[in-house]
Amino acid sequence: MLISLKEISKVYHMEEVDVPALRSVTATIDTGEFVAIMGHSGSGKSTLLNLLGCLDRPDSGTYLLDDKEVSRLSSDDLARIRNQKIGFVFQNFNLLARTSALENVELPLYYGPKISAAERQERARSLLTRVGLENRLGHHPGQLSGGQQQRVAIARALVNQPPLILADEPTGNLDSRSADDIMALFQELNREGITIVMVTHEPDIARYAKRVIQMKDGQIV
């Protein structure tokens, strides 16, 4: 079992009004699953993804990632977990502008255990080859199509060989053909054993996942 959430609650405080984002969410996700989280905006799906990604801590409840309680860790420890165990894929790609695809993919390696520049480049190159961009290593994000940019982002997410990939509307900014390509890539990665949790509001995209979690008002339905 890769992820185990038990009675997770999160409340946002906004100008003296408490907005509950998650209400006692309990869920488990096994290694090798491909899960889509669906729901309307405000349903708590983004909050859930942020907690899964160790970008935020729950107010109460426990979160076991790889059998380790992570909901009470220090921010430095969380940073290490994000670096080693989680790969992020965003709707707007979040690549560094005016920086080559190769260097964008290398980025997480700078914050992990020390490795040589040659090895860093080699790993980034092999991953870019893996996502079909071996001819675009030196291209800047501005010189790449949306689909290609998202592939660079996926290569970046994979560079530390994490067991878990979290994707937040990964196809939201893509045309349907690129979206299908990206989802095919996700399926391929999933077949190789990587667990994928993806937030989306498009049923077409959710169909690629093996399991769909529906959320409403901060709870799983």
Partner: protein, 407 residues
Amino acid sequence: MTGLITIRIAMRALVRNKTRSLLTALGIIIGIAAVIAVVAVGQGASVTMRNQISSMGNNLLMIFPGSQRTGGFHGGAGTQQTLTAEDGEAILRECPMVQAMSPMVRAGGQCIYRENDWATSVQGVNVQYQEVRSWDVASGSFFTDSDLRSAARVCVLGQTVAENLFQGEDPLNKTIRIKNMPFRVVGVMTKKGSAAWGQDQDDTIIAPWTTVRRVLQNSPFNNVNQLMMSLVSMDALPAAKDEISKILRQRHRLNQTTDDDFTITDMTEVTQMITQVSSLMTMLLTIIASISLAVGGIGIMNIMLVAVSERTREIGLRLAVGARRRDILMQFLAEAVALSGAGGIIGIGLGISVANIVAKVNHWPVMISASAILLALTFSAGVGIFFGFYPAWRAARLNPIESLRRE
């Protein structure tokens, strides 16, 4: 994340915004250049001044006649006629702290050698003048004691006079005319350079004071314009002044209620004044440089704040892929330090060039000390750390979720 990589990433971020980086660093560049130039020029100037002062002669002390008092009115300085060469000889005899003494009688006039003429000053002195001024003869010889006794019409030329009157010709044993009186040239002095106040010390003719007094000033009296003496050491100065004063008051028969009819001056006053002026200048320019550095630092802080807000999403992403807050802090701090450090290095280069130009124009030695460069580097890096810390701290405090959402 290792330090070297942090610095490389910081440099790359700066190169990406070349114009902005250069403009931001300009404040530091100017500040550091000012510091380097000021220190170099200041040191060069003070060394030059010290050289010029010591070129006057070592441990020099001068006595001038005081003002004359007639019926309750004071005349100007030097109106007393009471200071004589005998006074000087008495001082030399009685005061062991005085090493050498020369009276000085000044005259001036047109000097002529064949078709060349040159207006200059004539200093009437004795043979000890060489020792008092620590000034040697370059060619020929100085006049002798017997020349002095007989008021012989001989003279020694300063380099400037020799060049202008003889224009390459050997002046030795030639006869020149000073105020139409013929003088035989027996020697030429070595080059002395300009004095602390800019006067060309080589633009002069030296002759026995007795000759100057009788022949050029046409005076039967033996009072002099000045007595110059060198002391055994500078430490002896206060004691020597006291003793000389006692001797002169006794010789001039002044009672206790009467003012001195002479003034004793020494070069320490000039030295002190020059030191004072130069330290004042240094202080003033240091203040200017500090202000410039502070302004430059604020410029860096400003641009770093802009960079942090521009790159909020980048910061969010870095946090998401595993950067710790410390990494973000170090990244932006490194950028600020790289900015100010690069500014410092350019500033040092600029400062050295400015110092070289100023030194060349003024004929000063260039004094660029390693310690000044080290200080400048430390300062510029310090400015980067000081003014870069707040923006970097703001960057490190950003919430990754909100930062990632920022458009």
